[in-house]
């Protein structure tokens, strides 16, 4: 698969570092994201994920669930 991409860099010197940089960047971003997401407490997650299920309407007709 890389054969499609590698030729772009054939004529350039000193670009080997860029793929490494992008890999590291992406790695950091996703690991950070993972940490951030895992940091949220279970209780909090339960609370927010139940948001669509809350029903605060006051109509009497609306009880045929």
């Amino acid at each position: 698969m890389l054969k499609f991409i590698r030729h772009n860099f054939d004529g350039m010197d000193g670009v080997e570092i860029y793929p490494i940089i992008s890999l590291v960047l992406f790695f950091i971003v996703f690991v950070t994201m993972f940490i951030i997401v895992m940091n949220i407490s279970k209780k909090r997650i339960d609370e927010v994920s139940h948001l669509p299920l809350e029903d605060d309407t006051k109509n009497k007709e609306d009880n045929h669930e």
């Binding site: 991409i5 997401v37 949220i40 927010v48 669509p52 299920l53 006051k58």
Partner: protein, 725 residues
């Protein structure tokens, strides 16, 4: 804290819901009509075959179908769901009732304007952005109204944390605004005519950055928002993983925006941009499938409900369709797969999995469920909804599978060589007539799907009649207590972000801008990305008029102008297309589907008479052709009164017409038209039938001039090269 009472605006939801159903039927009917034109090219020649009706020709109806389905059907469907769920998720009425009404009526007016102008031939030809500049401005205004209304509602909410569905709505709002404005930057030359400010390769890049992300941020992110609200709501259980939804959201919006160039693989777009597009398109499968899994697994432990509730059935097929389409997308972005799929019906099949299953079924499920809530009654007929589900599903299969077969068949025929090195199917038409039965089956699939949708309309009307609408629904919730804008102790970072809506929107904007900037800015600023070719000259005034006719008739809907550097294409069409050949093309006309052959090197391939007869009746020169007749181009006088304005406009955009050329434009038109007329007179048949009809004043000569010019700038070069040898 004491609770406040307030009313949800159900009326606006109902209005959008009705519009969704109405435009859904219209959009699908137009779709079915154009599908039938593949099988019966003469279907709409109501005024006789010598009198084809311009506004009923395929090239003008196809954009009407795509725009109607995307912006009228799905657009209204999105607004329906957004207006319903936003109010409930934020526990408040919409920010301003008047803005809601302006959003609704403005959007409908735009649709009507599109439905009138597109068949009349007012088009910018850029796919899914065909509307001409006055309507573009209206779209932006209405979108701003929607934006103020949405943000205003978020700001006056009674629920501190904005739920994941709302994030997707915010991403939609911001990104569509950015995309729409940048892709539609055009210079008006008359009241209903404009030229794209970008040319050739750059225009193509901006267009597909838009085109791809219109799919992403108009047909995907808002629908995902609806999924995150309605699937849990209907199944009555929370989303499978809220954590996954956070990862899903950020990675999806960040990666999506880079993927546009996969629409331009093997074209004259610089290789680095193509490869960037491929890499990000392949990565895209992870967030896409993350979302799909999150949607499907929300139903874990509730599969018994799926058996009984038609709404959930629609949702399951919709999400599965999303999974299929987002698997296919990355696969088609591999260059070697794209080499087969691009320009074929495979792509049409692919997008319809997205349109019919993912968008159409999610909206259908939502409509059935909303009807019971809005009219406070049971659905008129569960049975009918089930029938809709089954014939709709069958319709999707009957639509997509024949087109997959057609796509592969045609691609393989295009590429097949004889042992002596010549093409087996040298005549393009053979590869078209071969797949006509597939087109017929596709029309059957479309009919099934439309029938199902009409059942939905009937079912909803009956439900509405039986129920009683509550236009303002009473609700109560506690108002928000003021708390610090800073993170409070123990508050996770993303939890904090979820209540900082302005910051959230800014970060979203940053995420979507990065990819677009990296791809587009170098292409526009770095000159060496588009090598110029000395022999490439601007079009003559007559050719320019011809090009405008080509655009008006939507020829680009069926004919590409981009020969890929493959042996099979060079053998069939001639030298492959170079980036430098398109530097005066405002807009680019590369096309995306070859229902007919590529036209980039059509210039000089046939004589003027061939083109004349071909436009008059394509079947006379090419038996079995499914191209429409363009008799009106032969009858209509060429109106070149705006030629100076057009040329001046192009000068502003960088096309080097001299003042003298502009001043002599009309004279130049007469001269070039007379030459073509003289050429045409060499055919005695022409003299017999059209000898007295002043053909040099007709639109056809401009079109012939343009077609004969296409691709010849560098052909001249190679001829001289051979001569020197």
């Amino acid at each position: 804290m004491e609770k406040e009472q307030f009313y949800y605006d159900n009326k606006i939801v109902k209005m959008f819901l009705s519009a969704t159903i109405l435009w859904g039927i219209v959009g699908m009917l137009v779709g079915l009509t154009v599908a039938l034109l593949f099988v019966f090219p003469g279907l709409l020649e109501f005024a006789g075959s010598d009198n084809a009706i311009s506004w009923l020709s395929f090239g003008r109806l196809r954009p009407l179908h795509t725009n109607a389905v995307i912006f009228a059907f799905v657009g209204n469907g999105i607004f329906t769901g957004v207006y319903y769920s936003t109010q409930r998720l934020l526990k408040t009425r919409m920010f301003n009732d008047n803005l809601s009404r302006i959003n609704f009526w403005g959007w409908q007016l735009i649709i009507v304007a599109a439905a009138i102008t597109l068949p009349l031939g007012f088009t910018s030809t850029k796919e899914y952005a065909e509307l001409e500049w006055p309507i573009d401005i209206a779209v932006v205004l209405v979108w701003v109204v929607f934006g103020i209304n949405l943000i205003g509602t978020i700001l006056k909410r009674r629920q501190r944390h904005i739920y994941v569905a709302i994030w997707f709505y915010i991403a939609t709002l911001v990104t569509i605004a950015v995309l729409y404005i940048f892709n539609n930057l055009e210079l008006p030359v008359t009241a209903f005519k404009s030229y794209s400010v970008y040319a050739g390769v750059q225009d193509a890049m901006v267009q597909w950055w838009y085109g791809h992300n219109a799919v992403a941020f108009f047909l995907t992110t808002p629908i995902l928002g609806l999924m995150y609200y309605f699937v849990p709501k209907v199944a009555n259980r929370p989303v499978y993983s809220y954590r996954l939804s956070i990862v899903h959201f950020w990675s999806l919006i960040f990666i999506y925006i880079w993927a546009g160039p996969h629409h331009l693989l093997y074209t004259a777009l610089p290789g680095w941009a193509q490869n960037l597009g491929t890499v990000f398109s392949v990565m895209l499968i992870f967030p896409s499938w993350g979302g799909m899994i999150n949607g499907l697994l929300t139903l874990r432990g509730a599969w018994d409900k799926v058996r009984e509730d038609p709404v959930l059935k629609f949702f399951v097929v919709a999400i599965t369709g999303y999974g299929m389409a987002t698997f296919e997308g990355p696969m088609l972005s591999f260059k070697n797969v794209n080499a087969i799929g691009h320009y074929t019906d495979w792509i049409i099949g692919h997008v319809h999995i997205g349109a019919l299953a993912w968008n159409g079924f999610l909206i259908a499920g939502m409509i059935y469920w909303l009807a019971t809530k809005l009219w406070k009654t049971e659905l008129y007929s569960q049975k009918l909804a089930n029938v809709h589900f089954w014939i709709g599903t069958l319709g999707i299969l009957f639509y997509a599978i024949p087109l997959y077969v057609a796509g592969f068949t045609q691609a393989l025929m295009w590429k097949e060589f004889n042992p002596d090195g010549t093409l087996v199917y040298g005549n393009f038409l053979e590869t078209v007539t071969k797949i006509i039965p597939m087109y017929a089956m596709r029309a059957v699939g479309g009919t099934l799907y439309l029938t199902g949708f009409i059942l939905l309309a009937y079912n909803i009307i009956k439900t509405a009649k039986a129920g009683s609408a509550v236009e303002d629904e009473l609700a109560e919730a506690a108002p928000l207590k003021k708390i610090s804008g800073k993170r409070i102790a123990g508050e996770a970072w993303h939890t904090w972000l979820e209540r900082r809506t302005v910051l959230f929107s800014i970060l979203t904007t940053v995420a979507i801008l990065i990819g677009g900037m990296v791809e587009i800015v170098p292409l526009i600023l770095v000159k060496s990305n588009v090598p110029t070719i000395a022999s490439v000259k601007p079009y003559t005034p007559l050719e320019l008029e011809g090009r405008d006719i080509y655009m008006r008739e939507g020829c680009n809907n069926c004919h590409s102008q981009m020969i890929r550097p493959f042996r099979s294409e060079v053998a069939r069409y001639g030298e492959y297309s170079k980036a430098g050949e398109f530097v005066y093309d405002h807009p680019f006309l590369w096309g995306s589907r070859r229902t007919g052959p590529d036209l980039h090197r059509i210039g000089g391939k046939y004589n003027d008479n061939w083109h004349f007869n071909h436009m008059m009746d394509p079947r006379s020169t090419s038996p079995g052709s499914i191209m429409p007749r363009y008799t009106w181009i032969i009858k209509n006088d060429l109106n070149a009164s705006d030629i100076e304005a057009k040329m001046k406009g192009l000068v502003t955009l960088g096309v080097p017409y001299s003042d003298k050329e502009i001043a002599n434009a009309k004279q130049s038109i007469v001269e070039q038209a007379n030459t073509i007329e003289t050429n045409l007179r060499q055919d005695p048949e022409f003299v017999k039938n059209f000898g007295d009809s002043n053909i040099q004043n007709k639109e056809i000569v401009a079109l012939i001039a343009y077609l004969q010019r296409l691709g010849t700038d560098i052909k001249v070069d190679s001829n001289t090269a051979t001569a020197i040898k």
